[in-house]
Symmetry: C2
Subunit: 356 residues, 2 copies
DNA sequence: TTGAAAGCGCTACCAA
DNA sequence: TTGGTAGCGCTTTCAA
């Protein structure tokens, strides 16, 4: 008794189906692949056998034989559970669903080693494409993969030492417009609270911040800048420090959603003991409109970022030739209230005032 | 020239490495798999060739030969970008990382057809285990897969027509405790805003709501119940309707995070035109503490839900025998302010009052 | 310590 | 319309 005919041991193969339907292996293959040249009665017998045995085609064997990567995309993001990144994952999934691609996502947690390990694993699994929010500072090891046909797209930050399609936000322009918005509302002491300064987006947004100050003829006051906040807690701490200064800022520009949440935490903790600073955050978030006051932000669509990244991957897969593209996703300032608070600070939020 | 020796065409195989290192295929295999019986010098030569050619083991061929599923888990959730579900994904990823499992996640969007399609695809890819937040009402088609060794765990809702490990929240107890909390603060007219009533969690939470009312000697007032809200917008609409009634509720129990956001939207839209109802939501969310007033919730740890689901999968993979387990994750009421507002309603939130 | 040959489940190619 | 045979890249088994 051959192994594949033992009932219950292992899954049925095409050979098993062939035996059950009393046809050849090749005929089963034809039925499974919907090839035309099979008699209706033969096909029926095969399908019956398939149903009876619970046969399911082995995609690994198939891919192996066809010399193609399995329909799988590897996505490396900072954290699968961070709404910004999971929105990207969603966009990618939507865009490649019709092509039959599955998305394997892994969290790098901003750890270059972990990132590389994930990418290596993805390559061993022969994914068709790699989508990476890069953390490490050398991606040259992916060049060989690309040469062998693996598609590669960097998202949100540029990769290093390798030419590949990249999709970025308009970090500089967005930050400059956001800070300009605060300046337009009369602020002259605008603080910048940011992530680690070596992160690409932080650096770009800091440049935008400085550019806005410069064009308003304002100097750069180091006392108003706090970077290195890698999480909500440290951002809250930085905010408290900023506001405890003798001459505190009247407005705060929060460099990303994590930072914005930290600032909100600090402000919630203060209660109404001092004039509330204006707040403008980079990255929109679902509850922004329902905060008190509603939070103004520099917004863009992260799902669209994912869709476009997937689009780039698909293009590479369809036409491997072509030089690397770079897409810049536009941002816009969404005024909701927190960014329009006046410098004086009445101590009342717009909504609270309505209640009084 | 054999296909595998054409430079640039296809990836190098073990055969290519063997040729380059002037050893046999099998020796390369030994080196790649860290088998002991290889001379140091031979191993060195092989490793050099591997590095030169950029060789990477093909995991598909490997899995095929070894008759094992590839180290991959399929996760079907409602929406990859919903924080609750992406937190589950994160928990799963964390727990199986050490075992070398990758997680492929797909969004069912609460569509039974899509769910089934995803599960079929996962099976064809021979995933080792399936984690499913079930939407459909018949999962008997997975029985054959389970019999062949695929692990299966249902998350958040029970599956149908099949016995499998399941991890659920204490929906009934959580909802009852939450509503009880509102009753304890003097409310007698507590509204229930919920998702589609046929969703398991909605039904269970509604039962908890009714149980709490019953034990307080309160009747069930249909005018205070709004179900069928499948998104934030419809929940906001339902909230507005509830509050526009002649005898409006003084407190609202929101059945899940989507609903809570809808209620918050409706309340934000009202401004301070009428007494603010107390609010208690099922599902915690990151900004809950920074809302005005801070939002009280029935909380639990969704990442832990993912971890435990993954734990169940691992157990099944290790010891296929054993009857289905069921885990109930406990919940707790987190009082932050919105659930402790008095029935009278002063029209001022606690924070706003501090400012006045 | 090393290698040759068979075969995993499937598809490509050629023959009937 | 059907079937046989070879072989994808790897591991297993057995022999040298």
């Amino acid at each position: 008794m051959s192994p594949s005919s033992r009932p219950g041991a292992g899954r049925p193969t095409m050979t098993d189906v062939a035996r059950a339907a009393r046809v050849s292996l090749k005929t089963v293959s034809r039925v499974v692949n919907d090839e035309a040249s099979v008699t209706a009665s033969t096909a029926l017998a095969v399908r019956r056998a398939i149903a009876e045995l619970g046969y399911r085609r082995n995609e690994h064997a198939r891919a192996l034989r066809q010399h193609r990567a399995l329909g799988m995309l590897g996505l490396v993001i900072k954290d699968v559970s961070n709404p910004f990144y999971s929105a990207i994952a969603r966009g990618v999934e939507e865009r490649v669903r019709d092509r039959g691609f599955l998305v394997v996502a892994g969290s790098s947690d901003e750890d270059a080693e972990r990132e590389r390990a994930l990418l290596e694993i993805f390559c061993e699994r022969r994914v068709a494409g790699l989508l990476v929010v890069p953390t490490g500072h050398d991606h040259s090891f992916l060049a060989a993969e690309m040469a062998m046909g693996t598609a590669l797209v960097f998202i949100d930050r540029p990769g290093h030492n390798i030419a590949a399609d990249t999709i970025l936000l308009d970090n500089f322009g967005g930050a400059r417009a956001g800070v300009q918005h605060l300046l337009d509302h009369g602020h002259r002491r605008v603080a910048f609270v940011g992530d680690l300064p070596e992160v690409f987006t932080t650096a770009e947004r800091a440049k935008g911040y400085r550019a806005a100050l410069r064009s308003a003829g304002l100097g750069y006051d180091r006392g108003l800048v706090r970077v290195g906040c890698h999480n909500t807690t440290s951002a809250a701490e930085a905010t408290r420090e900023l506001l405890a200064q003798p001459d505190p800022p009247t407005a705060i520009f929060a460099c990303n959603n994590r930072i914005t949440f930290g600032v909100l935490a600090a402000l919630a903790g203060m209660g109404g003991r001092q004039p509330r600073p204006a707040l403008l955050g980079f990255d929109d978030f679902e509850l922004a409109a329902y905060m008190t006051p509603p939070v103004s932000v520099v917004a863009y669509d992260p799902v669209e970022v994912g869709r476009q990244a997937a689009e780039l991957i698909c293009r590479q897969l369809d036409r491997p030739e072509g030089r690397p593209r770079r897409i810049i996703v536009p941002t816009s300032v969404v005024a909701r209230g927190s960014g329009e608070l006046p410098p004086a600070g009445t101590g009342l939020y717009p909504m609270a005032r309505a209640h009084g």
